[in-house]
Amino acid sequence: MMKQKRSSLLGGVTLATLATVILMPLLLPSATLATEILIFAMAALACNLLLGYTGLLSFGQGIFFGGGAYIASICMIHWNFGLLSALLSAMLAGALLAGLVGALSIRRKGIYFVMLTLSFSQMAYFIAYSVSDWTGGDNGLLDIPRPALTLLGFEISNLVSSEAFYAFVATLFMLIFIFARRVIHSPFGTTLVAIRENENRASAVGFSTNHFKLLAFVISGGITGIAGALYAMLLNFAPLSNIELQMSENILIMTIIGGTGSLFGSILGAGSIVLLGDVLSSVWPRWMILLGIALIAVVLFMPSGLWGGLGSIADRWREYRRSKEPEAKSREAN
C-alpha cells in the first residue's frame, strides 16, 4: 500500500541520505568507488521519477546519460568550458534529448511506449558511433579534463584528489535529492502519481496527462545528463558504452532493485549494483551471471525492491516484538 508520507523537505529521509553520503567514503575502500555509486544513484533517482512515480518504463535513460557525458566533454575539450558551465550544458542537453524522446514516445502507451524508447536508444548509439569526429566512436572520448571548481572567479577546489571530487559530487547529489523530494511532493509530483495509478481518471478530472509526462521526462533527462557529465569527469574518459542500451538497462535494474517509488531506494540500488560489480568482478570474470541471479531473487522475493524489503523486515520485527511483549509482561507479573 502506498500511503503518502508527509515529512518535511529537509527532515527524515533527507537526513538519512545525508548520513549515508557522509559515511560512504569512510566505509568503502576508495572515494572513487563512492563517487561512482553517487553518480549512478543520481541516474537511478532520475529514472525513478519516471518509473516509480509516473509509471513510465523508459529505456532512454542511457541516451541522456551518454548525451550529457558527450556534451560536457566536447564543451570542455573544444571550448574550454569551466566545471559548472559544462555541467549546465550537460543538464540542458539531457533535458532537451529527453524532451525529444519523450514528446514522441508518450504518444503511445504501454508496450508500444517502451518499444519507442528502446528504438531511440538504439538510434542514439549508432549516431554516437558514426559521428566519431566528435565522440571518438568506438574508442570513446579520451583526455577529458576535470576543471577546478571556481565561483565568481575564486578557485574553491581544484578537485584533483578523489576525495575533493567526491565532496563535490556529494554536494551536488544532496541538492538534486532535495530537489527531487520537492518535485514529488509538489502538485506536479502528486499528479504524476495520479497518472501512474489511473491515467484515464487523471485525464477525466482535468489533467492533460501528456504535458505532465513530458515534463517528467525533461526533469529526469536533465538530472541524468548531469550524472553522465560527472561520470566522464570521474573517469577522464567518455566510452561509447555510456550511450549503449546496456547503460539504460543498468540504470533500470538499479532503480528496480533499490525500489521504485522511493528516492532513498535509488541509492540502495545503485550502491548494491556498483559494489557487487566491483567485488564480484575481481573474483570471477563471469560475475554478470551472479548479478542476474541477484536480480531474479529481488524481483521474486522483494517485489518492492530493497527499500520495500527492508521496510517489511522492520515491520515483521516490530510485530514479533509486540507478540513477545505480553509474554514478557505476564512473566514479570508472576
Binding site: M1, S186, G189, A204
Partner: protein, 251 residues
C-alpha cells in the same frame, strides 16, 4: 442567461455504416436532474461519451454554457465546468480517499498543476475542498483509507465525490448505482437528490425506482435516437417506452 446549460443539435456518431447515435437534440435545463434511460444498445453511453469529450461526434454540435464544445478535449471541459463519474469505478486505488479527492480538486487547475517548485501543502484550497466533499458524501470515517479497500458502495459514492471536487456547474453521472447492493441504493439516491439542489445533474441509470423518484425530466432513447422526453409521470405511462423495453423491434 440561457435557460438551458447544455444543448445538442443533430448529434450523431457513426461507426462505419452503423449509427450508434442517429440525430439527437437534447436540451438540459439549468438546475434540473435530467435522466437518460433506454434499453441496452440504445446509445445512452455513446451520447454520454460525446458530451464528456471521450468520443468525437461525426455530426451535429454541442453547446455548453453558451459555448460550442463539440470538438473540445475532455480535460478542457472540466475547466469549463463539466464533470463526470464513471460507470465502471475508476479511482486511484492505492491512494487515500482524501488524496483521491484532493487530486480531483487539483485537476481544475489544469496546466497550473505542472508547478513542481512548491509543496502541495503550500496551497490549502485543494485539501480544503477534499475535506468539504468528504463531509458531503459522508466518508469522513474512511478519509485516510486507501480507495481500493472501500466497500463497493463506498467506492461508488467516492466516484461521485470525485466529480464534485472540480466545482462543476454540471455533473454527468454514468450509472451511479451500477453493481450496488439494494441496501446502498437509497444512500446514492439521497446523495444525487441533494446534489441536484446545487448542480445541474445529468445521469444515465437503469434503476427505475431511483429514476422515477428523483428525476425532473427523463429522456428515453431507443436505437440511437430520442424516443420521447417528459417528466416521470408522462414517461412511465407511455406505451412506446414499454414497447421499446420489451424489444418488439426485432433487433
Amino acid at each position: 442567461m440561457n435557460d438551458y446549460i447544455l444543448e445538442t443539435e443533430g448529434l450523431g456518431l457513426r461507426y462505419g455504416a452503423f449509427a450508434a447515435l442517429g440525430s439527437v437534440d437534447l436540451k438540459i435545463r439549468r438546475g434540473s436532474i435530467h435522466t437518460v434511460i433506454g434499453p441496452n444498445g440504445a446509445g445512452k453511453t455513446t451520447l454520454f461519451h460525446c458530451l464528456t469529450g471521450e468520443r468525437k461526434p461525426s455530426s451535429g454540435n454541442i453547446q455548453f454554457a453558451g459555448t460550442n464544445i463539440t470538438s473540445q478535449a475532455a480535460h478542457k471541459r472540466v475547466a469549463a465546468g463539466m464533470s463526470r463519474s464513471f460507470q465502471i469505478t475508476s479511482l486511484f486505488q492505492n491512494l487515500s480517499v482524501h488524496e483521491n479527492l484532493r487530486l480531483a480538486a487539483q485537476g481544475r487547475d489544469g496546466l497550473g498543476a505542472l508547478s513542481f517548485w512548491y509543496s502541495d501543502q503550500h496551497r490549502r484550497e485543494h485539501s480544503d475542498k477534499a475535506d468539504e466533499v468528504i463531509e458531503r458524501i459522508k466518508l469522513g470515517a474512511v478519509a485516510d483509507t486507501c480507495a481500493g479497500e472501500l466497500s463497493h458502495g463506498q467506492q461508488r459514492v467516492l466516484e461521485v465525490g470525485m466529480a464534485l471536487c472540480s466545482n462543476p456547474q454540471m455533473l454527468l453521472l454514468d450509472e451511479p448505482t451500477s453493481g450496488m447492493g439494494v441496501d446502498d441504493i437509497p444512500v446514492m439516491t439521497q446523495l444525487i437528490a441533494e446534489l441536484g439542489r446545487d448542480h445541474t445533474v445529468m445521469l444515465i441509470e437503469h434503476n427505475m425506482r431511483l429514476v422515477m423518484s428523483i428525476s425532473d425530466r427523463i429522456t428515453v432513447m431507443h436505437q440511437g435516437n430520442i424516443l420521447i422526453e417528459g417528466d416521470p409521470d408522462e414517461v412511465s405511462g407511455d406505451k412506446r417506452v414499454k414497447k421499446a423495453y420489451l424489444g418488439e423491434s426485432g433487433s
